[in-house]
């Protein structure tokens, strides 16, 4: 019963929450904007002065910025591809009836409960380490030269680590979508002569498109700000080969104590994230309608 009166009352009642959230967002954002126009280095306290867009100029013309931008997109894209393809395959597998289904499902979800720092350290020291790592052990067992993943393929290694963390999330969402598919539709398509691949392409995949959209949206938000995994494994290196925007902002503001530059980088990151969000919404938002 959305009468004019009840709608006005509803607005009145949610306004405190809206105002609180707005303040929560506006205050730090405007402070960051303010800092980004200052020359503000923690090593030289009391010397702050207004310098216009110089911080932005500095940040945007830094070659590290373009490297970081490319790395961010590669990281987000790579993880999305791995988790969605892998998640779909795993979901198809887990949807089959088999013995011990419940236990296996819990095991599959387990990586999601491991903290990013912990999982990145486990990957770094127990799997990818060129001396003690499991992969090195296998390589040596096969008579091959161990590969130093984090030194020679740092970004790819980080993509694998992050994808491993997000795979369970994607699997879980896609599995629930799969289970909500009407069995009679599958049977109908089977009678219509569709083989397994046809059923997947024409029936299952369209049914899952909304869930895939949700996975892409949620993961993109989190993947744009991957940080801990980089900090504990490669520190953004070698050079800037595994630095993303988030890490670059950290390196600017905290490693160089440049609050102004870091703030400018932060604002740039916010703008980039919004551009990505607009693109995503345009591209797949229509999937969420109806």
């Amino acid at each position: 019963m959305a009468t004019a009166h009840s709608r006005a009352a509803a607005r009145l009642m949610i306004s405190p929450a809206v105002l609180l959230l707005l303040g929560w967002m506006i205050v730090p954002l405007s402070m960051t904007v303010y800092f980004s126009f200052l020359s503000y280095n923690l090593l030289m306290p009391g010397m702050e002065e207004f310098i216009g867009f110089t911080n932005y100029e500095f940040f945007l013309t830094d070659p590290a910025f373009f490297a970081a931008l490319a790395n961010t997109l590669l990281l987000v894209g790579g993880v999305l591809v791995i988790t969605i393809v892998g998640g779909t395959l795993l979901a198809l597998l887990l949807d089959q009836p088999f013995w011990g289904q419940g236990i296996v499902r819990i095991l599959v979800i387990a990586p999601f409960f491991v903290m990013p720092t912990v999982s990145a350290l486990v990957w770094k020291n127990m799997f990818m380490n060129p001396v003690n790592g499991l992969f090195a052990y296998f390589a040596k067992a096969l008579g091959l030269q161990p590969f130093d993943f984090l030194a020679h393929a740092p970004l790819a290694s980080i993509i694998v680590i992050v994808a491993w963390q997000w795979l369970p999330f994607a699997t879980l969402i896609l599995l629930t979508a799969l289970q909500s598919l009407d069995q009679e539709q599958l049977e109908a398509s089977e009678m219509d002569g569709a083989n397994f691949l046809n059923r997947f392409v024409y029936i299952v995949l369209p049914h899952m498109s909304r869930a895939i959209t949700v996975v892409i949206l949620i993961q993109t938000i989190f993947l744009l700000s991957v940080f801990a995994e980089i900090l504990v494994t490669t520190n953004g290196g070698p050079g800037t080969s595994s630095t993303n925007i988030t890490y670059l902002v950290y390196a600017q503001s905290l490693l160089q104590f440049d609050v102004g530059g870091g703030s400018a980088g932060g604002i740039v990151a916010v703008i980039l994230a919004n551009i990505v969000a607009v693109f995503l919404m345009r591209m797949i938002g229509k999937n969420l309608e109806a």
Partner: protein, 337 residues
Amino acid sequence: MGKISLKQVTKAFGDAEVIPPLDLDINEGEFVVFVGPSGCGKSTLLRLIAGLEDVSSGTIEIDGQNATEVPPAKRGLAMVFQSYALYPHMSVRKNIAFPLKMAKMDPAEQERRVTAAAKVLNLTDYLDRRPGQLSGGQRQRVAIGRAIVREPAAFLFDEPLSNLDAALRVNMRLEISELHQSLATTMIYVTHDQVEAMTMADKIVVLRAGRIEQVGTPLELYRTPANQFVAGFIGSPKMNFITGEEAARFGAHTIGIRPEHCVLSTTDGTWKGKVGVAEHLGSDTFLYVTVPGMDPLTVRVQGEAGVHHGDTVFISPVAENLHRFEANGLAIRQATA
């Protein structure tokens, strides 16, 4: 095309035997209705024929070929599901064309068949809509359209009308019968509604707990039910059953008399009772009469009955329409003594 034989077919889900050994022949061009109460195995039997379930034992022959191991798509049968099972993200056109696309048919031929089917089913104006934008009756027709474009050897319908409202159901019933007349293809139709069975079928198969109780034309089942179950299931309102002394007078364990074969009188007759509820339908009146020592009798009187709640009336069965049953439910066939 379209002759189906089941030979000693059984189906068990785990320990539960849903279909005990069953034999059935369905002739070319026949409209066969499987009817029975809910849960008696009608859908299971249909799914066995379709190939969506594997038989536990026995063989299924289609057009003289053993089809027991043939996958559903290769049996040349088309099925219309109770939930319609339309593909929600495809337009009506794509839904109907889907089986043709899967058969890699030439697109021009696909288009021709879809257009023809849409014309028959009054769907021409809706071809570009999604199933979600259609009414129940239209969805039903899309499902039928998807079945007919394949030109199958036989159609299988699983309670196709049970999701429609009463008026639409009568309409669709006529349309499906019409379709059968024009296509002359074998149709197997599952329903729990004996009215649908009586009105549509060439041949009715009455099932109970997976067992065939009787096979026959609608009128055969109506006139000469093989047992008490069929007698009670076919016909509306239900046949009245009388046991005990009254039945013994007719030399049977149970006698059955249909409401329309009871003669009502206010002066004399076989059984004396009191009128309970009277339902006036205009063309008919159904009276529920309580007779001491018997279950309430339903009596059908043409037009207005002229009796009211609480009146004393007499009811006599029409002797030649009286059904007699043994204690095990089987009908006694020889003439009344």
